[in-house]
Structures are given as C-alpha cells and as structure tokens.
Symmetry: C2
Subunit: 373 residues, 2 copies
C-alpha cells in the first residue's frame, strides 16, 4: 500500500501543501509553509522534504522555481488519510434543513433540491442522479378511458412510482374491451420485469383478448418502452456556472468539451452506476477514466433505503476542490434526504398489507419509495 513509508513530517507537509493549494489555488513554496504552526524546521528542510515528496509522486512542479502543487496521487493520499473532519456551520445546516424539509414531495424534487444545495454550499457544480434501475416491473395497471380510440394506460411500478402512457388505437374499441384488457394485463403482466415479457406471455394475453388480439402487441410494446425508458437514469446538474469560476484557467475548448460531456449525461451516469457500495465515492482526475474530466474531481454518494439505491447526489469540481467540506456536505445532505424519505410511512410496509394485485406481491417486498409523474 502506498503512503506507508511517509514520515509524520512528510505527511504534515503534504497536508499543508494540499490545503494551502486548495485554498489559494497557487503553487506553494517552502517559505510560506515554514511559518505554518506545527512545523518547526527551516525552509531548507522543507525543500528537501518536498523534493522527496515530488520524487515519490505526491507533488509536482509546474516549472522550476515555482512552488509545488499536489499531484493526483497527492490528492488521493490526502483524501484517504490526511483529511480532517469539516464541521458544517450552523448557517449551512439551517439552509439544508429549511430548504429540504419543505420538500416532502416527490423524490425527484428532493434530489434536485439536494443537488442545488450541494452546489450552493460548496460552490461547485451539484449533481443529482436518478439511477438506472434493474428489473422494474408494473405492479398494477389502470386505464383512463378517453374515447373509443384513445386511452391512457397508467402503471404503478414495483417501486410505487406511476408511469402513464397515452395509447392511440388504430381501430376504435369500446370501453369494456379496454377495461377487459386492463384486467388481463393485471392478471398476466403485473409483477413481471420488462425483460421477461416474452412470447408466451403475449400469446396468453392475445388468447384472453380474443377478437382484440391485434391491439395487444403495440400495447405490450408501449409497456416495455415505458418501463425501460423510466428505467433509464436521469441526471440533473445545478450551478453549471460555477464550472467557470475555477476552470477559467483552463482552455475554453476544454471547458466546452466538458460541458458537452455533461450534457450527454451518459458518462456521468456510467460513473455513478459503476460505483458500488453505499459510501461516498471520490473520483480524482483520471480515476474517472473520462478523458475530459482529468482535471476535475467528482464526489458522490448514493441515497440508500433498505438496501435500495434511490438516487445519487454529488458534486463536480476542480482537482483542488475542498474535499473536506464537500465530503461533509454530501454526507450530511444524503443523511437528511434519507431521513426525509425514511420518515415516510412506508408505502409497502410488509408483504402482508398488500396492493390489490396479488400477482405483484413478490415485487413489493422492499419498494418503499414514492416518486411519481
């Protein structure tokens, strides 16, 4: 393991370099370190130590006769071992409480609010992700009949969310047939994950629908696409303008590329979904393996309830971000969000107290979230 061979003094110096550079954004020299409390040696000694730290890869020099700047490895080590707990100010805590607590609404809203808070507290770009989910299923179908050629198919998913799709029929069907279809769907499709809607299921459906068999296929297709679409993960950024505050020293083309990648969304979604575990992830520079983020750091943490990841909130900032504050903020935010959604009386408290469609029972064990729209 790296970093085990560092003397206490080296750690102290590395820590000081990182923190000074995070704060001021400039290469830090031996003299400025010397007058720091806790260091009792001369600038020459510090120079020697820094030279060695550079040798080992923790620091680097923009050019001869500039101070040192932490390398990616330097930040890594700092985050892993040197970080001091940041105590959030009461102002910050109040801000979180007042804004977040007022949102008892949809999870989406809460996530967005949390991302905005993350951005405004840390002064970096905040992000909220509604993660890709595997194997969502519909626990119940409803129809809202509009006219003989149109109805809205409403699906309550296994997670308690609601997805609705407008369906247009090529040939008109009377109300009862549609309601029959709905019943059939509830009997045959409810509780089945999108990927396991297969031919036998469809044939069953068609058999039930008798003369209306032709309308089954397009409807199943609609259901399928609704589920997978809903499933697709969503990324929302807040405080994009703060990207400029720190990457202005970078080339504008680079920034433009970064913005493009962010707008694409898939890279970030991939990163977020790749991370395992319930803990904070910190991706520094190339660790993200996204070319354009080599000069950025990404900190994020999933919001977990009963073992399910309901969302992710995080912060995107420069390599020299204030990791202590960001980590603390993210953790606090996640905590608050989990508290809020935990405060909900569970929608599906136990396999016993169940929604009407018995079929769906086995899919509802853990789903207790409550977004919709």
């Amino acid at each position: 393991m790296y970093g085990k061979d560092l003397s206490e003094r080296k750690k102290l110096i590395l820590k000081a370099v990182v923190e000074s550079h995070i704060e001021l954004g400039e290469p830090v020299g031996s003299k400025s370190l010397q007058q720091l409390p806790g260091i009792k040696c001369s600038s020459a000694t510090i120079r020697n130590e820094m030279a060695e730290l550079e040798e080992m890869g923790y620091l680097e020099q923009p050019h001869t006769s500039a101070g040192r700047v932490p390398s990616q490895l330097g930040y890594r080590f700092y985050v892993d071992q040197l970080l001091e707990h940041y105590a959030m100010t009461t102002g910050e805590i109040n801000q979180i409480n007042s804004i977040l607590k007022s949102k008892t609404a949809e999870l989406d809203q809460i996530l967005l609010a949390a991302s905005k808070l993350a951005s405004s507290i840390t002064n970096y770009t905040g992000l909220a992700v509604k993660p890709k989910r595997s194997s969502v299923s519909v626990s119940r179908f409803e129809v809202a009949y509009i006219d003989e050629s149109n109805f809205v198919l409403i699906m309550v998913t296994s997670l308690g969310n609601v997805v609705s799709k407008h369906v247009r029929l090529s040939e008109p069907r009377p109300r009862q047939r549609i309601e029959l279809l709905c019943e059939a769907l509830n009997k045959l499709v409810a509780g089945i994950a999108a990927e396991s809607i297969n031919l036998p299921v469809i044939m069953n459906l068609e058999a039930v629908m008798e003369s209306d068999a032709p309308i089954v296929a397009p409807i199943v297709k609609t259901i399928y696409s609704a589920l997978t679409e809903y499933d697709g993960g969503e990324l929302q950024l807040s405080g994009i303008n703060r990207l400029l505050q720190y990457s202005d020293y970078e080339s504008p083309e680079h920034l433009s590329e970064l913005l493009g990648t962010l707008e694409q969304k898939d890279e970030i979604l991939r990163l977020v979904s790749e991370s395992t575990g319930e803990d904070v992830s910190v991706l520094i520079g190339t660790e993200s393996s996204v070319q354009v983020m080599n000069n950025s750091a990404l900190v994020f943490k999933p919001i977990v309830k009963d073992g399910k990841t309901l969302g992710v909130i995080g912060v995107l900032g420069p390599l020299r971000m204030d990791y202590a504050k960001v980590l603390e903020t993210i953790e606090h935010l996640c905590g608050s969000v989990e508290e809020i959604i935990g405060g909900y009386s569970p929608i599906f408290p136990s396999p016993a107290a169940l929604p009407p469609s018995d079929k769906a029972a086995n899919d509802l064990r853990k789903g207790k979230n409550d977004t919709d729209e």
Copy 2:
C-alpha cells in the same frame, strides 16, 4: 418608421457590414467592403457612407481606427428588411427528417429533439419550452389504492395529459372511502381550473365526505399544486457548450451570470410567454430587457396547433448570430414538428365524443394534445 431614409447604397453597405461581421466576427473596414461584388465605389465613399450610418445609429466603432460593427439597431434593421432567405442544405433537411420523424412519442421528447437539432444545425444553443398554460383543469380523477394510508391520485388534465401524485394519509382510511373521495372529486372538482377551486367547492367536498372531511383539505392542496406545478412551464437547453464558442471574448463572469440566469429558467420562460402571435420572435440585445442578455440574441417560435401553443423552440446566440440561417432553421423545425403532431389523430376530436366526466366537457373543446407522463 426607422430606416426609410436609407439610400439603396446605404442599405447595401449596411447589409454587407452585418454579414461580414456575422461571418468573421471582426470589425469590418472600408477596404474589405470595396472588393465586394455589387459595390462599385471607392473606399473613401464607403467611409463617408459608413460615417453617416454610424451617425444614424446603425453602426458603431469599437475605437477610432477600427472598422465598424453593427449596432443593435443595425441588426434589427438587417433582420427586418435586409435579410435574405437562407436555403437549407439537403443534409440539414435530412438530419431533421431522420431524427424528428423517428420520434412519434411524447411532445416533450419531440421538443427536446427539435431543440437539439436547432443547436446542432445552427451551432448555437437550442432551447425548448413547454409553455405555461393558463387554466388547466382536471377532466377526470382516478385513484390507485396502495394501502390504507397510501394511494396515488391520477389526474387526466383537460389537455389529455396525465399527472399523478402520491398521497399519504395521516390516518388510515379504508379503500371504499378513498373511492368515494374519488367519485366526489369527479363530481365536484373535475373541469374546474385550479384558480377557481375555492372555499364553496371545498366545503361541498367536505360535506360529501362526512366523517372523512379532514382529509379533504390536504388532498385539494395536492391537486392545486399538481396543476400549478404542471402548469409551470419547462425549459430545456441543448448545446450549452456552444455558448462558450462565441462569448469567450466576453468576460468569464458575464458568461457565468448568463449561465446562472439560464439555469434559473424563469427569465427565459417569461420572455417566451410574453411574446404574442404565432410568428417567429427575434429579440436582439436589450430588446429582451434581460440585463445579462444584452449581448445575446434570442430567436424562437411557438408550435401552434388549432390555435393552441403546445411548445416553443428557439435558439440563443450572440448578437452576431447568423439570423438568416437561424430563422430558416427554426421555421423549418417548427413546421416539421407541427406536421408530426398534426398527423396524430386528435384525441378529442369534437365536443361530442367526450370523456366520461360530463363536467369536463366544456374544457375540452380544443385540447387535442397528447403528451403524458
């Protein structure tokens, strides 16, 4: 009216200045104009003309001994009177067709795709707006019962969209009571616009619900917020990175401010909703009366069907944007989108073929749109 006193030659010169500056982004001098076809006088004459144009406010000089740059008024006049029709390339048309035609899905999706197209074709930032609607109402309520403390209230709006809200009850209620509530809602609230849900309505509801009166108020509040929230207008940007390509000569703080304003969304929504008529709007510089957009131009056009504005797509770019191309692109895009949604068989074809809730009848005269989710 301005601009009537301009000689043909002045117009020619103004046009040339604008177009040259749009293309190259640099102040344009008398010499470079001279060698343009269609101008048969010497640079000195052009200088005189330009001096007069500056006098009149159509041109301005960044400093002595630089060329001239169009003023805001200059652009205005150019757009109003000098613009030449831009013929879209077949490549561009194909791009639109292939991408747009494949989206037969939700209006939201179509709008987003159109905005992306606008951005990629024009190389500026594209925007799509789902406009604020006035007086949406619920034409029908449905409930999806989950358990005795939870149900999902599903509302089919007067426009045929579906909004759903999860409702948590502080005290459990049996299924029948919820269904009764739903019936009552359909009787008393369906067809009423959010703003006309008043005390008498609520009292009526409470009377019907008898012992369950206490749950009425929060539910009405939910309905109200769902409607106004849904009603709130939505803005999506695409190609934000292209903002950098042209505003890099601006101060980075300014750009940051602009991004902030865009993220806020309300300014843009206001601008878009303020515009009347079905035509393209072109807001140049201060015409938007948004401080931070003084150096930007906004071009947008509503998507209209049967007299209803279903969305707006537009482009945000620098003052020196390629108005000819942008205008043509936006108009073409809007045309394509209208064509696509026009192809839908109308959901509410006539006041006769109506959704079950008779109450809602009078709200459905024109609603023929079909988004959902």
